[in-house]
Symmetry: C2
């Protein structure tokens, strides 16, 4: 066979390999790969943080507890102190952590193939946010976010492989009324994707409504509880160490109705939590442990994640800095501490300070998400789409960040060390043979199992890149977004069910 | 005092604090902070990689050894096999590693305050590269790189705090002749900065010339050896496992003249090293150990770093992909393995595939540098300025990447856990007092010691950012570069010495 034909055959073989679908287990990256190789704290330091959190709950307690929470906690050994603060004894909280709390749970997708198992050291990437601004797809300028934006985020995320959970990204500012917003936020999130979703609920009264809607989609009353497909982000705390009334009222309701909860503490260092990062971390842990205790007293073993989101301020201005190195390290440390306790971990990473999809956004996001993922955070919220320290969201950012998340998950996978991968036999062949590895069977064999390829990331040579238009990645992402918006119209909600939902609830989303 | 005056006083106090110079030890980040919290390989896996490398050197040996290298190695127990390959027995290499090789050394700056100590788990950020294209500052288009570009890179890096070592970034394509290029590359690198520098030398004959020039700057013959301020990147290998003749000839010369060497192996997975990452890593280690042995047989204890730069290919095209997740993880693992052996480690990270300073460049760079730094790499080459998988360089990228490096070094610093930082007393004050931390003494006290602030990174609110012109970070970096080029004209080389150098050598750089 001539050299030319052999080369052509090699290329054809590579193309054929590349186009053959891979079964899930042989893909280079998958949702839920094991993290944990990044351990910024020593084991002793982790214990000190945990001890500090227990001390806070025992000595300072939580302010502004609701009557139900007071009843639950005092009934289990807690007490109200003379300053009106609810004290949590260490043995109560420790017993909840070790004996009662849910250690892992399945968050289902409406497509069962997209379900994820939260817990252990398994890493998943999620959106999240309550952005009030959208970087408009057409104008690339900020404007108020709408319900339609939320739906577009959901359907764009639906086709991006490395976003595993779609959680509410933007607040629909075109709606009024907390119950209307709660119902419609849940609906628009669910309507755009078959992946697991997440939402927020402002009112305790919204919880049964949202669950009733989810039951209708899941096939009948009680079905959502059996296969829950939606996390509730619950910002139960006004740091430091005070319950937020409405969200705290939601906690037991969500737990009893089987809604998995992100117990979300987002103190801001230097403002609502200590400027010293260690203190900020310990305070967030204390707050989440208080909520975990409440949830498990209301519904033992209720699925929940410990959502330590210790935010960082720019101390010159007091403004939040989601893109800082301080933020990156404290979020990763938060995941390490929670994982060490054996509890499901949520944290936030990817909160660029940059207002646009530029190099600043890129390095701010990657620094934080890389560390959170390699620390083993189970759910990394805010990992795609967010700008302006969570004030803004962008569809183009979702697409660019999806490439980033793939690359980061590849680092989480790490390097397998086996006699086969160490390749002594291959190297012997090459050293005593052709002197290169280009045509070696190993090279062809692993190009789809060990390597991943970006979607909008460019790997052309400089000349070819110029010939192709010399575009930025955000320009290429813009094209990809246009294509998705034009072509991807999810129809996984049965029309009859959809009609029934619209009969029962005030659903505002109009779909083309 | 009125509330208004107290607030103003607080702001004035913050401004005063911010403007007070900090002594080096209380700065939030410093060169040489301790990494090592990222350990992608288990201790057992590290041993397996090291064993595989020793096996390669003993069983396959190195091809194309020079007569001097053959003499050195066979004189110490090695042998030439019947295929003309130089075998390195394990006990020889192990003895060099444990008993002979330099474990740490000082790389001096021409400004002694900028000297760095290479070794242990101390992390430093360096430029590097042999880019052939420059993203022109004025036109923002690629063109051939020049000697003047190299000098501009050096003086821009000179003012960027988070670049600790300036190593040659671009090849002066306006020069011809290897000796002329070697001399002028060293001169232009040195003339732009008082930081430690690095260069490359193509010809063995250039080494004494370059050292003679360095001696003149250092104050006389033999002075450079006493306080070496320049690393020699030496690409001594044509992977797999063959010496590159000219560079290999340079090795003993550099070692004997006291030039610290980066022993640089840059195999490309799937082409010149195995596609399996484990094999690629082990092969690079074997190659660097061969060079380390040669260097230490020529000059026992000669300062050198183990430069495992295992490059990754896009296996669809065979082109290098410096920005991939595979590259990020293998570079970090390389640093981990070398550090575990107790040897000084160099690796490459920050090699974006993107051709411009966009979000792709940002996330590609940050993913890799974050992991290499947290793995404890002693010298992270290519960490600023590079684009197009090392084919291109950009002054704007240097400035943007400097912010990134600061943020990453902040993550390397980690979180100090002490009774004071855990802040129980502060939290008690706040919980029972104002309910927030804004005016607390701790907050004011640590804003300059725990937090860092970007130079061109933007943290404005969306509205303020629009009012300020809605710029990208690369636009702001462009302005900063213009300012540096106009204002920063290093004059640390004594004019009489400079004249003497120009008398003796063919120095082509004209400085305005």
């Amino acid at each position: 066979m001539s050299e030319v034909r052999r080369r052509a055959g090699g290329r054809a073989a590579r193309v054929a390999l590349r186009e053959a679908p891979l079964d899930v287990d042989s893909r280079p990256i998958r949702p839920g790969m094991s993290g944990g190789a990044f351990t910024p704290l020593s084991a002793g330091e982790v214990t000190e943080v945990i001890d500090a959190a227990y001390s806070m709950l025992a000595e300072f307690g939580m302010g502004q507890a609701t009557p139900e929470i007071i009843e639950l906690v005092t009934g289990a050994g807690g007490r109200m102190d003379d300053q009106g603060r609810l004290r949590f004894p260490r043995d109560l909280v420790e017993r909840i952590v070790t004996e009662v709390a849910c250690k892992e749970f399945i968050l289902h997708g409406l497509d069962p193939d997209k379900s994820v198992e939260i817990g252990g050291d398994r890493v998943h990437f999620a959106t999240s946010g309550a952005a009030v601004l959208m970087l408009d797809h057409e104008t690339q300028r900020f404007r108020h976010s709408t319900l339609s934006d939320l739906y577009d985020c959901s359907r764009v995320a639906d086709v991006l492989d490395n976003i595993h959970i779609f959680i509410r990204t933007v607040v629909p500012r075109d709606l009024e009324g907390a119950n209307t917003i709660d119902i419609n936020t849940a609906y628009a999130s669910m309507a755009g994707t078959t992946k697991p979703i997440g939402t927020s609920m402002f009112l305790p009264d919204s919880v049964p409504d949202v669950v009733a809607m989810f039951d209708m989609v899941a096939g009948g009353e009680g079905e959502f509880r059996k296969r829950p497909f939606c996390l509730a982000n619950n910002t139960f705390v006004v740091p430091p160490l005070r319950f937020a009334e409405d969200s705290a009222l939601c906690l037991p309701v969500q737990a009893r109705l089987g809604v998995p909860i992100t117990l979300l503490s987002a103190g801001q260092a230097g403002a609502t939590s200590p400027a010293a990062l260690a203190g900020s971390l310990a305070q967030a842990l204390a707050e989440c442990l208080a909520a975990l205790t409440v949830v498990n007293l209301a519904q033992p073993g209720a699925p929940a994640t410990m959502g330590l989101w210790p935010f960082v301020s720019d101390l010159r201005t007091g403004a939040m800095s989601g893109g800082s190195g301080e933020e990156a390290i404290i979020s990763a440390a938060a995941a390490q501490v929670v994982n060490a306790m054996g509890l499901p971990s949520s944290t936030a990473a990817g909160m660029a300070d940059s207002k646009i999809v530029d190099a600043q956004a890129g390095h701010e996001k990657a620094n934080a998400v890389t560390l959170a993922a390699n620390a083993g955070a189970n759910v990394i919220h805010e990992s795609a789409g967010m700008l302006a320290s969570l004030l803004g969201c962008s569809l183009e950012a979702l697409v660019v960040d999806n490439d980033m998340l793939g690359s980061i998950m590849r680092t989480v996978r790490g390097i397998e060390i086996t006699p086969e991968t160490l390749s002594l036999d291959v190297i012997r062949d090459v050293v005593h043979g052709p002197g290169h590895y280009l045509g070696h069977g190993q090279t062809l064999g692993i190009m789809q199992t060990e390597y991943i390829y970006p979607e909008v990331g460019d790997r052309l040579s400089p000349d070819d890149w110029v010939d192709a238009g010399a575009t930025t990645v955000s320009e290429r992402a813009h094209e990809r977004v246009s294509q998705i918006l034009a072509e991807h119209h999810p129809d996984h909600i049965d029309p009859a069910v959809d009609a029934a939902i619209r009969d029962r609830f005030d659903i505002r989303l109009q779909r083309g």
